[in-house]
């Protein structure tokens, strides 16, 4: 049995606020009209401004090695809205593919 040793004392309230997770119930993100990452094999999101518009997009990798990008559609201060996923392209214009085994 694996046992985690969890910290039980925080030195200051500010530290505790930074360390203790206080998350709202999770919600599924949408990309356009569909759920982000739906039907992907082991979707792995990363927040990154891929299109350089100053807004942080969601790039999603998966088990087969495909990358997609859901562009952030609204300002950073609002509840996030993302556009439909498109494949991330390589320099040759073809989909970037971390070709798997």
């Amino acid at each position: 049995m694996r046992v985690l040793v969890l910290p039980v004392v925080f030195c200051a309230a500010a530290t505790a606020a930074a360390q203790s997770p206080q998350f709202a119930p999770p919600v599924r993100l949408k990309a356009g009209e569909t759920f982000l990452g739906e039907k992907r094999l082991y979707p792995s999101p990363v927040l990154h401004d891929l299109d350089g518009d100053g807004r942080v997009d969601v790039v999603v990798g998966d088990l087969p090695g495909v990358l997609t990008m859901a562009p952030r559609g609204n300002a950073a201060a609002d509840a996030p809205v993302y556009g439909a996923e498109t494949k991330v392209l390589a320099a040759d214009g073809k989909p970037l593919d971390f070709d798997n085994w």
């Binding site: 739906e38 201060a77 390589a90 040759d92």
Partner: protein, 341 residues
């Protein structure tokens, strides 16, 4: 794979580093023209970096090596996640390697320089509070995040758990960087998301359950770190009330499924029983021939089982499995801003 955007080759442009299922870290270099074709990241011996298990592209089979084990840390690790990070504070990027078959994390020291990496040939275990890191539920992914706001990069890990809803699911933890600001050292983990019990009953999924790949950022602009989690969700729709006849039919269909599984195993046993002493390629060829000769049997079993499963689903809602990306909104900033009661 879990992509990491990082200037791996120190040319001023972001690259993409990713561990993939073949067991090695890969790199797509960023260029003026765009992302270049991904390549394997090599050790200083010019060979691909692996821990133990890897897909051998020459033999086209799974393979294993112990050539890079640290003394006392031999195993059967399969590194499918990678993180480029300056572990030892010497100014260049080392590589962290996460084992999806266990909860262990290893690292390859970079003895080169920024832009000219020379990765050591030993997979050192990454330790925290004096013991090797052991991610509960095996490693799915790793991310760097300054979770506690002390200016140092902490190490977050998401775990796999039972990938098909079997047993406990995955969770998320962060190991705070308690180092001196140069070399990293990891303290005891903080649980960000407890492992799922994978037992949700309802019309819709409730959370990410297995294969948790997370990232962090201030998604809602309120000044704290929110968490995105890509994963499979497992849920069971509430069962419908059944009359006696329907209950009997369910029992019959479940028995039919078991019978199909037993028939499948029997045919497979008969296929294997004819292999004799054949070895190597001769055995593979013979197996393929014998397997193909029983295709009609396999197809009949598949049809019978499929029909049983389909009818059963009309009476007992099947367990659902689907992948999504979830947002966990951090409430810390809102809580701090709320007026005192």
């Amino acid at each position: 794979m879990s992509p990491q955007f990082v200037d791996f080759d120190a040319d001023g442009k972001l690259d993409i580093v990713a561990g993939i299922f073949d067991g090695s870290p890969h790199l797509s270099r960023g260029s003026k023209q765009g992302w270049q074709k991904p390549e394997q990241i090599l050790g200083r011996d010019g060979k691909r970096i692996v821990v133990n298990n890897f897909w051998n592209f020459d033999t086209k089979k799974w393979d294993s090596t112990h050539a890079y084990d640290a003394p006392g840390h031999e195993g059967e690790a399969h590194a499918t996640s990678t993180l480029a990070f300056d572990m030892d504070g010497d100014g260049d990027l080392d590589l962290l390697l996460g084992d999806h078959k266990s909860g262990r994390v290893f690292w390859r020291r970079n003895d080169g320089s920024p832009g000219k990496p020379a990765f050591d040939l030993v997979n050192q275990p990454v330790t925290a509070a004096g013991a090797p890191i052991d991610v509960p539920g095996t490693v799915a992914t790793m991310r760097l995040v300054d979770w506690n706001g002390d200016g140092k990069q902490d190490l977050a890990c998401g775990s796999m758990g039972g990938p098909f809803g079997d047993g406990d699911g995955g969770g998320v933890w962060v190991w705070p960087n308690v180092g001196d600001g140069k070399a990293a050292a990891w303290g005891a983990p903080i649980e960000l998301l407890a492992r799922s019990k994978q037992d949700h009953v309802g019309d819709a999924p409730a959370r990410p359950d297995a294969g948790l790949y997370m990232d962090f950022g201030d998604v809602d602009g309120d000044g704290d770190l929110d968490m995105l989690v890509g994963a499979y969700s497992h849920w069971q729709e509430a069962p419908k009330p059944l009359d006696a006849a329907q209950q009997a039919r369910v029992a019959a269909l479940q028995a039919a499924q078991k019978d199909c599984d037993a028939r499948f195993q029997q045919v497979l046993k008969e296929v294997n029983a004819g292999l004799g002493d054949a070895v190597g390629e001769a055995r593979d060829t013979l197996y393929t021939e014998r397997y193909q000769a029983r295709q009609a049997d396999f197809e009949a079993i598949r049809k019978d089982r499929s029909a049983a499963v389909k009818e059963l689903a009309t009476l007992v809602p099947p367990r659902q499995r689907q992948s999504f990306v979830w947002l966990y909104e951090n409430l810390a900033a809102k809580k701090a801003a709320a007026p005192a009661k």
